[in-house]
Point group: C2
Chain length 337, copies 2
Amino acid sequence: MSSPVTIKDIAKALGISASTVSRALKDHPDISTDTKDAVNELAKRLHYKPNAVALSLKNSKTNTIGVIIPELVHYFFSSVISGIEDVAYDAGYNVMICQSNEKYDREIINAQALLSNRVEGALISISKQTKDFNHLQMIEESGIPMVFFDRIPEGFDSDSVIIDDKLAAYNAVCHLIDSGCRRIAHLAAPSTLGIGKCRLDGYKEALQKHGLPYLEEYVIVADSFELAAIATRNLIQLPIPPDGIFTVNDLTAVGAMKSLQKMGIAIPEKVAIMGFSAGNFSDITTPTLSSVDQHGYEMGVKAASALLERIENKRNGAGETFYVDTNLVIRESTKKI
Amino acid sequence: MSSPVTIKDIAKALGISASTVSRALKDHPDISTDTKDAVNELAKRLHYKPNAVALSLKNSKTNTIGVIIPELVHYFFSSVISGIEDVAYDAGYNVMICQSNEKYDREIINAQALLSNRVEGALISISKQTKDFNHLQMIEESGIPMVFFDRIPEGFDSDSVIIDDKLAAYNAVCHLIDSGCRRIAHLAAPSTLGIGKCRLDGYKEALQKHGLPYLEEYVIVADSFELAAIATRNLIQLPIPPDGIFTVNDLTAVGAMKSLQKMGIAIPEKVAIMGFSAGNFSDITTPTLSSVDQHGYEMGVKAASALLERIENKRNGAGETFYVDTNLVIRESTKKI
């Protein structure tokens, strides 16, 4: 048997594009009557049949999970997505990702898109700008199960998957202390961000536990590469400069390292550096960077698994909070214990 | 006027979850008759009305553009997505991203998902495994406009957006020569990959143009961090080692730099390093990495603009190929001219 006639064959025979043929067959208003007649006549003559798979899809369930995520460029979030996808595809679901790009307006459009695309469930991490949650209530009211991960809104009875930021920060600072640091500074995120406050609390608790004083001049809000460089210069110019720096994320740690190197200060001998969220560049820097591994992949696996249980009615009842473990990855920027 | 009654209010009043209320209202088979009766009665008593926005979305156009992309973790692809999104959201479209994760099987599921989610158009970069294009023909036959970017399949009459890989590689190697290198090695991708062949051709042409010999022992297939470390060690052990290395991507360049540093070889004084595709870690390494900027953002802008022209019938006719410019970013890993 010869292979079935396709839109491409018709297009080739008539010397027009496949897209024009497709539209002609659908009686699209932009296509001329002459073209439509020619296409329909040839389609009939060649016994053209529309693709069966495409037709059957039109009325089926979407089997799609929607994801709303702040920023794809972060290694952490792309790891979460890998975990989500491995669980979802194994279970026969497709994954569609919407990026809010940390913008509240886009997150609203993303939420509407998940609805209009009839996803079976949604995995959501909110943007830094999001303070109002009507768009998420809209999803909830549509009966679409939601699971939140990493950045969680308040007031929803949904499952959440997070790490214990305070404990992870506590462990990171304890490592600096155990390896000999006694004057530890912290480059922090604004405390309005939940994770910023939790990580600062963990830092404070580790100092207190080891009988080290908490010094205000050692804590500077600086959560970017550029701000870290300035903050580190200021720290080094203090009458008693720190011998260790714990940073709220890895990019900040790299900024601090570059700044120390410019000043000729040896890492980790004079100042040790501890980052957070072992990103894809923590083993590329010189020296390589000690950091907290947030296990993004495991977070994605747990979030997708929890969502599938809701979609498939395997678990009902009140929303639960699941914690994903973290661990320290010790590389060259901190001293060996 | 008091605020309208929501599913949450009903859930709270009855002590059950919002999701259960939503399903009860939709007569879902998993919900008991008792619960359904209680929910419906209370909904009626409280004059509950379903969310109007959610309802209106059910029958509307999706206004969604679908993207199929090999790997989100690459800075290049996440830059492309930013460009796509900025154009699409400005024009009132939402963007949904599917990641093939370089797997042919997932790419097929992604294509089916775009169809069943009724996207208005598709932006596609194919996976390394994809050699068969039935899934893309299915999209074409559905009359959904497609634009391909960066990794292009053969045999489609669609728009394409690419860079001139050969020219970019030629320029990169010319920079090494202009800055004094005379024995330039190349860490290459397998030549079965289109970009691998183009970049190798550009390397050869630059040597020829400057009267430098092409030496087979200077070209090694090594396109990852790990392979680069091994290949670089072998290059340095040659009787006449290279004084410059051009790598097919940035991660390979970092592998080469780490390997040279371990051997105590000064960069760029003894061996200069030139990468490709200025990633997000090319200014994080020590020394910072000279590289080719592929302008991923501009590629995304161009691809989305071309697609919108097709969706909105502003441009018809045969598929066109658009080239996005590249330029060299000179940092510390190559010598000043």
